[in-house]
Amino acid sequence: MTDEKILLDHGSGGKIAHRLTAELLLPLFDNPILADLHDGAVLELDGGRIAFSTDTFTVTPLFFPGGDIGDLAVNGTVNDVAMCGAKPLFISLALIIEEGFPRADLERILKSVRRAADKAGVIVVTGDTKVVPKGAADGLFINTSGIGLIPPGLNIGSTAAQPGDHVILSGTMADHGMTILTQREGLAFDHAIESDSAALNHMVAGITAASNNVHVLRDPTRGGVGTTLNEIAQSSQAGIVIEEDRLPVRPAVAGVCELLGFDPLYVANEGKLLAFVPADESDAVLAAMRRDPHGQEACRIGRVTGDHPGQVILETRVGGRRIVDMLTGEQLPRIC
């Protein structure tokens, strides 16, 4: 036993969070399905394969430009299921509500859950409601779990990146994380930015229709694109090279990041995915992504190499190269 306390960093999705998983969770629950550490678990049942995933949503503020905790809770779980190549079908909805929470807000959030579920084509099939005393929760926490069917012949994992693969990102980075941050802190900027919260299962269906050789799909949520690429590089034992001038960031988001000293590579997204596909199929996949309303700004950002396995390298605009490390803990705004 130690007297160590859990810090916010343990929930950041970065290295410190990974260490907690490795030290505390994996030894206790070790099994080959969990060991994959993919966004969702792939389960073989009676010859068929289903994807199963769970996620808990805590966000302040509950309502933000581009979405609210309700659609976030649906989209997050739908996306985790979809990243296994599955077609999401059913989700659960569990609410932990703080005593005194406005009923009108709850209703608004539930309606948003419904709208998001309809858009994604999933139905809420089971649920739970708990109310805890004032102070025991921050307004409202939501847990959702999701189940989806994986079409036969599809094998998408986080360990399957191969040298020669192209790395495609479905759109701009850091929109969600910077929106939440600016809202939370009441930072006012000239240009409005909004969360990219969206369900990506329809895009995934388009991608898998265009190519049945997709090696990896991941949604770069907490920890951002930089951290997710590191996870893929490590679990696939492959090297990844990305090009700085291909990385898409909205100017207003880039401006806020620059001001606060945040690197958009490490800021959360809630409606983006990374696809690793063989070079000769990347045009078809890219075209499929761009046909989707959430993928119009999709672009190739890099490639997989046999060199420097486990490492992500960035080629900078001025012709230099540097390492893209995994996020450590939460990014903290700097002192200028």
């Binding site: 000293g261 605009r317 540097r322 002192i335």
Partner: protein, 362 residues
């Protein structure tokens, strides 16, 4: 594809030309120091070391405000967090800096009321809304940050707030340059002077330093081509043997700086000797709150007892901050000291030299 902020200054073609010019001019081996942490980060993020000829060695100086904050000051901050009925308001990058036996982040997990703010004015607002609590703002930073903190103290005065206090641990740059030149530990052939600090101070503020040491010194902006242009000018001065004080960031920096910001600084603070981590006491390189505003000075209004601080054993931050060592030469680097488990502040702050090496250099 999508246009990035400041795209026009990241022109790859211009960068190539600048690199070619530097390579053509540079013959002598030189050690150039960037004094500003934002420069350090930009140099690493853009892989600038990678494109320079081997004759040019870039040293990172004491330009990360969190890093130069002394251990005693960090312990003092923690002592304020442990006070009853006190909210400590701080910039985010101080949270993880280890003090002698704790950090603000650990104190927060223990239940102390520590809040991250983006501006000292957020702390003033907090004090106005919670009159029953004492709000202590941790004032850390250089001439860039200090004016807004000074303005927040004046705002608190105008609002009649009695529960707003600032611990002033600010540092100022020009005298630190003199200390670096006076030090025997490292021979610096030229300085990349900080951009943001110079916006406030103006180029003329470095004139006494330059006149005394006649060392090439160029103010630089933060885009890769800004930095390359400043390096080009430094190399040219050195090769020609004609040191100059020059401004390679004229779109933001003037000769006289921002008079209004300096007036506010002067109204609220007075220069005092300050203890810099790794360097020691530098005369008149800190800012203390003037007697006329003593009611806002946490150190005078709410004195805390702090035992003599111990710097972490084996930590090379001091030598790294003066350019005497690079991070891989510190025996803790990457072993006992990592961003997850930082021993010294240079590994904590996003602008710290060790964190930059660790993240971007391997």
């Amino acid at each position: 594809m999508t246009i990035k902020h400041s795209e026009e200054y990241r022109e790859p073609e211009l960068a190539r030309q600048l690199v070619a010019a530097i390579r053509k001019t540079s013959n002598k081996p030189v050690q150039l120091m960037e004094v500003c942490g934002t420069h350090t980060m930009s140099i690493f993020r853009h892989g600038i070391r990678d494109v320079l000829p081997q004759t040019i060695n870039l040293l990172s100086g004491p330009g990360c405000p969190v890093c130069v904050t002394s251990q005693q000051e960090i312990d003092t901050f923690i002592a304020y967090a442990r006070q009853e009925d006190t909210i400590v308001a701080t910039f985010g990058d101080l949270l993880r800096v280890p003090g002698t036996d704790s950090s603000l982040q650990k104190e927060k997990a223990e239940g102390r009321d520590i809040r991250v703010v983006y501006s000292a004015f957020d702390a003033v607002k907090m004090a106005a809304e919670q009159r029953g609590q004492r709000v202590v703002f941790l004032g850390v930073g250089f001439e860039t940050t200090a004016p807004t903190i000074a303005a927040s103290i004046l705002a608190a005065r105008d609002m009649g707030l009695e529960n707003f206090h600032v611990v002033s641990a600010h540092k100022t740059v020009p005298n630190a340059l003199e200390a670096l030149m006076a030090s025997e530990a490292v021979a610096i052939s030229g300085f990349l002077l900080p951009g943001h600090v110079s916006v406030i101070l103006g180029l003329n503020a470095y004139r006494p330093f330059f006149d005394r040491y006649q060392v090439p010194a160029v103010v630089a902006g933060f885009e890769p081509t800004d930095i390359l242009e400043a390096i080009r000018r430094l190399v040219e001065q050195i090769e020609k043997g004609r040191p100059q004080l020059a401004n390679a960031y004229p779109r933001a920096v003037s000769d006289t700086g921002n008079a209004k910001a300096r007036a506010v600084l002067d109204q609220v603070f007075e220069p005092v000797d300050a203890n810099w981590r790794g360097i020691g006491i530098i005369p008149a390189s800190g800012l203390a709150i003037r007697d006329s505003l003593a009611q806002f000075d946490a150190l005078r209004q709410v004195p805390v007892e702090v035992a003599e601080a111990r710097e972490p054993a084996g930590c090379g931050c001091g030598e790294i901050l003066t350019g005497a060592k690079i991070p891989p030469e510190c025996k803790l680097y990457r072993k006992a000291c990592t961003p997850e488990n930082p021993v010294g502040p240079c590994m904590v702050s996003s602008e710290g030299t060790c964190a930059a090496y660790y993240r971007y250099h391997g």
